[in-house]
Symmetry: C2
Amino acid sequence: MTHYQRIVLAKPVTGVPAAENFELQQVPVPELAEGQVLISNFIASVDPGMRSILSGGDSYSTALKSGDVIQGATVGVVTASNNERYAVGDVVGGGFGWTEMAVSDGRGLNKIKDTRVPYSCNIGILGVPGMTSFFGLERVAKLKDSETVLISSAAGTVGATAGQLAKAQGCHVTGIAGSDEKCQWLKDSCGFDQVINYKAVADLDAAIAAACPDGIDVLFDNVGNTMIDRVIPLMKMGGRIVVSGQVADYNVDPAERPGIKNTSAFITHRLRMEGMVVFDDFREFGRAKEALIQRIVDGSMIYREHVSEGIENMPAAFIGLFTGESFGRRLVQLAPTPA
Amino acid sequence: MTHYQRIVLAKPVTGVPAAENFELQQVPVPELAEGQVLISNFIASVDPGMRSILSGGDSYSTALKSGDVIQGATVGVVTASNNERYAVGDVVGGGFGWTEMAVSDGRGLNKIKDTRVPYSCNIGILGVPGMTSFFGLERVAKLKDSETVLISSAAGTVGATAGQLAKAQGCHVTGIAGSDEKCQWLKDSCGFDQVINYKAVADLDAAIAAACPDGIDVLFDNVGNTMIDRVIPLMKMGGRIVVSGQVADYNVDPAERPGIKNTSAFITHRLRMEGMVVFDDFREFGRAKEALIQRIVDGSMIYREHVSEGIENMPAAFIGLFTGESFGRRLVQLAPTPA
């Protein structure tokens, strides 16, 4: 193979991302320098949080410029190595983005030796989404047993994993999702106590209040300002709002976003709202991954993947994150998974 | 004395409080039952936070009904006692509200024996405002030495005390207030590093950014949503917003309030916003009071009082809290302070 494909930012995104924002490029496979390895990625993720670095401005990573490869998590196999720590055939996780191949000096590479779960888990339930669920509940929400938890965008990997973890702590868990199929899965397969299809209810506020009649201790929010504002009046004393994602707001200019108005309850009900980026918890990932693997292996934790084929379909998969069409961790298979 | 005066809620407040919301009543001094004491209050406070219980609805106390005495902190002297724990002449702090006299069975009474500072301090810098400053910084903000702190409504007792406490921790402290006189006092007498008269600057955002060029670790907010929203983009990584008061929002219907829109920084900058009611820290008040008394006595902590005379002036004093005319802890002298 002399060339490989990658996708770069063609022009910064304004509003809703569209195909024209992305460019598929053919680039030559580089020569390896001393200490470098060549990786052939076989699966990659598209993540809603990436939206915030596609329009310029400040984010938790530096904003991308036109021509930069779109970021994302990857799993690949080492196909050539000038680095004694990596052998051809090693499976490695990384954050190489929307690219079929990548060169690394080993930094940011993470050799995947654990085969108790499929490789794809490493960029899903054991990757950023699952780590966000785990540390969002543990570190940010400081979830206590038997509390009442509301999760928005609940059928995504972050939401579904958080809900199952909360159930394992004996919590009462309600999930909000955008289709009957997703709600059914959350209830039947993930064990959520209550589910709300926000597209099917006439009055979402009333539906949430009915599902959580005694109030809400923790809102694990993946949606944004409108969701947070409507839930605040239902929060219990000492309630916590985990700002995990803002899928409804990423595509909206900040000046045009709905605002959070119900802030008087921050005082009356001693609410705490806290944002998170899970990389802050990096040193604890091992413990969290092991806890999740054990649950996956013993069958008490499930996950769902929504896999497309071929790098050329990554923009469409990404755009679909904002339309609600995704159902499960959104991944793109770039090459066959090694046996 | 056969009668005393008190002020009750005449009708719930809509929008800005006005004289018509309050009624001055003459009521007979009651007979004391066994175990009761009669207290003649000589000084009382008016508090902006009380606004939230004057229009009905949920708050950190139960909303008042028409005919209820307006709540507030008081210091009085025991003038009759059927309770062996209290003697005539004892000075007692309480929360009896806008009333010249009160009857108590001892619950909620707090005998004031410490005369190192004036009695009025017990409902000011040693009362709810000063305790809010202390625990807002310590428990909620978890303030660290040398951080950058921005305080809104800084010339109030909460703000000025918080600023001096933060200065004692080596922090860089900027205060926002509404007159040159207040700003001068904050800088010259309270030791604030930077002051901003929000009524005199053309661009408040730019003024804040200029005062805190490296960003803000802690916003101690007493104003409300508009202030919080404008400061969020200036917060440093890991910044904390203490929701201490909302004087700009209390008089505005929640649906009409400005919203907090800049929430993307909650994720990118890992911000935490947390509301507080200082009664939660009640068990720690002794430690905080002693720390403040020592600073007052050694001259390293100052406070300012704005005292009116006569219970009939309490509504005007309260209304003045929302116009910016107050300068210092707003108190009303109901009777001469005992020697």
